[in-house]
């Protein structure tokens, strides 16, 4: 305690002469950048959610005027009834915003920035100015994407996967500038992501505190590190593909045009070569954070730490050789389909290892059901569903039937909402005191968790059922198909649940903003955790530590027999601890 107080004192004594703009706007402080990413990505999460509500209205009540629909221009909703061209924009932009600007920024932008230096005992990122550039490129990308909603012929409408030739030819899609803005935005997004990834990798390799060996790193840092490698290698492929698409759109090139010798499937290979590692970019950091939350809440060391690390690496490696499973029915050589099926099925193995290890962590623990722990358990329970439903799609003959149906939509939302977003909510509650110096309200947090868990399942579980009935994705009006008539009532049920689920998020919204001003002041280590970040005052000062902390043990030393408390922080020196023999290189 005395060391921490001394650090706090030193932090305040350190005279901060940066102007407001330097401190909060064009900041190079990784914590401020993390918080900037948080506000940005929560904004896009809200936009994506509002778009999804309109999709749900149309699917449940096709042809009926949407409440508030009259506020939309006639080119989107005629007399409040959504038009098919607007519907396609909704599905495209919902996917784009959620994948790129909400979930990916929340995980990689927010948590990599905020947590990596704090958890490894570094002063800041290796390249703080590049970090700032990464944030502002993301802002540009987001604004360009958002602006496409306001151009005259409307936003992109070829689906978030932008399959050519629909996305490349304006006469096919009916949108021109909107489609081009998508490509431009993704190029900026790629820039942002590469700058960020470079930084995270360099920081983890070079800036670890003395004693923070690779296998004493928290699993969240491991996951973010491996994710950054995936991002560095995968996102440039997407940006490259987006450049080709932009050339196709505005210069009339023929990369993807078969009538001039191009290849339609080339886009899908490029997109999914990025797109599948992307799926793991969107889940690995969540898995890392959940490991922190579940270990803390169980008051036990993580079960099978090394297996967890190897599972992260295994998922990341296999993630590179499974992209073809998005293309089983695309016309790709079916023999290639067989090999992609094998790798895809194998990826279930490290995923299973992770689930079992989280359960092993809870086993014989001393469980504390604080809000972050609830989200952590919720993640394990829901990710299991998302992981298991993936096996149906991996099996090629079954995929022939359920491909491009709501079964896939259910699967991705179990992974990205029940998985990633649950972990994000847990992470926000857990590190909120570190960010803002105050606690979020626990009661409101628990109500938010339970309502979200129930309504979320009401929204997404029935999607498996309508998917089994053959309900296609991205159709404006399901009621015109005879074979979908028996399941239309599920569409109504899903939509009403979705509206309620959205309403539930008001609890989170209020809790998030009100706690910033009126929340309980955070104790130094409110969750009694072992992470290095809790040895700093909250919020931590610019530069974090005056002298880097020394790490004496792994991150999950909970409930050690004979210890005075049920946690031992990584930097707490016990009489039996020796100074680390060799401090890792520490570049400043």
């Amino acid at each position: 305690m005395s060391t921490a107080a001394a650090t706090a004192h030193a932090g305040h004594a350190h005279h901060d002469d940066r102007s407001f703009v330097q401190k909060y706007l064009f900041s190079t402080d990784h914590k401020i950048i993390g918080i900037q990413f948080l506000f940005l990505s929560l904004f896009f999460l809200l936009i994506g959610a509002i778009l999804s509500l309109q999709i749900r209205w149309q699917l449940a009540f096709p042809g009926q005027p949407m409440p508030g629909g009259k506020l939309l221009p006639e080119s989107m909703a005629a007399g409040g009834v959504l038009l098919p061209e607007y519907y396609l924009q909704l599905v495209t932009m919902h996917g784009t915003f959620m994948v790129f600007f909400a979930i990916m920024l929340l995980l990689v932008g927010v948590y990599a920035n905020f947590l990596i230096p704090l958890k490894i005992g570094a002063h800041d990122m290796a390249f703080p100015r590049i970090n700032m550039a990464s944030f502002w490129s993301a802002v540009v990308a987001g604004l360009v994407m958002l602006s496409s909603l306001f151009v005259t012929d409307g936003s992109p409408r070829a689906g978030w996967t932008m399959y050519v030739p629909l996305s490349a030819r304006h006469d096919y899609s009916g949108a021109s500038l909107g489609q081009e803005l998508w490509s431009i935005s993704i190029i900026f997004f790629g820039l942002s992501s590469v700058l960020g990834s470079l930084n995270y990798i360099t920081t983890v390799i070079n800036n670890r505190a003395p004693g923070m060996t690779w296998f004493r790193m928290p699993l969240s840092v491991w996951a973010l590190f491996i994710t950054a490698i995936l991002g560095l290698l995968a996102v440039p492929v997407l940006a490259g593909a987006a450049i080709m698409l932009l050339f196709e759109q505005i210069l009339g090139t023929h990369f993807f045009d078969p009538s001039a010798g191009g290849q339609v499937l080339l886009w899908q290979h490029l997109f999914w070569f990025f797109g599948h590692p992307e799926v793991y970019i969107l889940i690995l950091p969540a898995m890392g954070m959940v490991s922190e939350l579940v270990a803390n809440g169980s008051r036990k060391p993580i079960f099978g730490y090394h297996s967890m690390v190897f599972a992260i690496c295994g998922i990341a490696f296999l993630g590179w050789i499974v992209w073809g499973h998005h293309m089983f029915v695309s016309g790709m050589n079916p023999t290639l389909g067989s090999s992609f099926m094998v790798t895809t099925l194998l990826i279930a193995v490290p995923s299973a290892i992770k689930v079992f290890n989280w359960m092993g962590t809870m086993w014989r623990g001393n469980l504390r059901f604080h809000t972050p722990m609830l989200w952590g358990i919720g993640f394990v329970a829901m990710f299991t569903i998302g992981g298991l439903s993936g096996i149906f799609m991996a099996a090629t003959p079954v995929d022939m039937y359920i491909h491009d149906t709501y079964f896939i939509v259910a699967h991705i939302h179990y992974v990205l909402v029940g998985g990633s977003l649950f972990a994000i909510f847990g992470g926000i509650v857990f590190w909120y005191p570190k960010m803002f110096g105050r606690m979020m309200n626990e009661t409101a947090g628990k109500v938010h968790f339970w309502l979200t868990l129930i309504l979320y399942n009401c929204v997404f579980f029935p999607m498996h059922i309508i998917g089994m009935a053959g309900h296609m994705r991205r159709i404006y009006d399901p009621t015109i198909y005879d074979f979908l008539k028996p399941v239309q009532h599920w569409n109504v049920f899903i939509s009403i649940s979705a509206f309620l689920l959205f309403g539930t998020q008001i609890i989170f919204f209020l809790n998030f903003w009100l706690s910033m001003f009126w929340g309980k002041k955070a104790a130094l280590n409110p969750w009694e955790d072992n992470g290095l970040e809790w040895s700093l005052p909250s919020p931590a000062p610019h530069g974090n530590w005056d002298t880097p902390p020394t790490v004496y043990r792994g991150p999950y030393e909970f409930s050690v027999p004979g210890a005075s408390e049920d946690y031992i922080p990584q930097n707490k020196k016990l009489p039996t601890d020796r100074e680390p023999a060799l401090a890792p290189a520490h570049g400043d």
Partner: protein, 248 residues
């Protein structure tokens, strides 16, 4: 629950559904065990004053068991799946006696061509495509004279292998008949074969299942599975209609 899958109307359907339910059982058992475990652990190991958590970093045997069981299950699943996959989609899977039909997709309709009496499709070229010649038949090819072209309806004989040759004029579409459990993307610049045996006479729907533009949701056609006699009669009737029509 089995009512959630549509009726089975092709020879693939029972096999695919069997695979579906087999996976449902495997994943269902896993799902139930994991969820029960989570609830049970949450209750049994809930924090209480004076309770001490069991300090352990893991167990090698447990790791090996829960790595090996999923791995073996997945390998078996892969082997079984691959057998079916090769049968449905393999490059050499189409039976030699399969009845050929060309299906040409364009925004937002399906054009279906039969060979007519000569058993041969006339040549088609992209340049020949026009309003009156939607599939682009090259009329200089004599084999095209008796070709029968119909819009948004696919007639197939029951119990006989049929192979559809799928081509697209503009964007990617997807040929999807839920009751057949058959789906194949239709890709511009490629001609892709998909075969099936319809088993139950009746009327079904073809739905486009790949986003293809504004009218995607209504890119719909009927499939008529007919007895051989009905099918032959329909074909005869079409042939006569085609004879009477002026050739363009």
């Amino acid at each position: 629950m089995s009512g959630w899958l549509p009726a089975q109307a092709s020879s693939f359907a029972p096999q695919i559904d069997g695979m579906f339910w087999a996976i449902m059982i495997i994943t269902g058992i896993t799902f139930v065990l994991v969820e029960i475990g989570i609830v049970w652990f949450s209750f049994a190991y809930r924090g209480r004053p004076g309770r001490q958590a069991h300090y352990t970093h893991g167990n090698g045997t447990a790791e090996i068991i829960w790595t090996a069981i999923p791995a073996v299950t997945m390998v078996i699943l892969g082997l079984v799946s691959n057998g079916l996959w090769t049968q449905f989609k393999g490059r050499n899977s189409v039976p030699a006696d399969a009845f050929p039909i060309e299906v040409h997709a364009k925004q937002f309709e399906w054009w279906v061509t039969y060979t007519g009496a000569d058993g041969k499709f006339g040549r088609v070229t992209n340049d020949s495509i026009s309003k009156t010649n939607p599939t682009g038949i090259d009329h200089s090819d004599p084999a095209s004279n008796d070709d029968i072209v119909v819009r948004n309806q696919l007639h197939v004989p029951v119990g006989k292998p049929v192979v559809v040759y799928l081509s697209s004029e503009d964007v990617i579409h997807s040929f999807y008949v839920p009751e057949f459990r058959v789906r194949q993307d239709v890709v511009p610049g490629m001609q892709i074969k998909q075969w099936f045996v319809a088993t139950v006479p009746g009327t079904y729907e073809i739905a486009c299942s790949q986003l293809c533009g504004l009218g995607h949701y209504k890119m719909r056609a009927q499939v008529y599975v007919q007895t051989q006699a009905d099918f032959d009669a329909w074909m005869q009737q079409q042939a006569e209609k085609a004879k009477g029509a002026p050739t363009s």
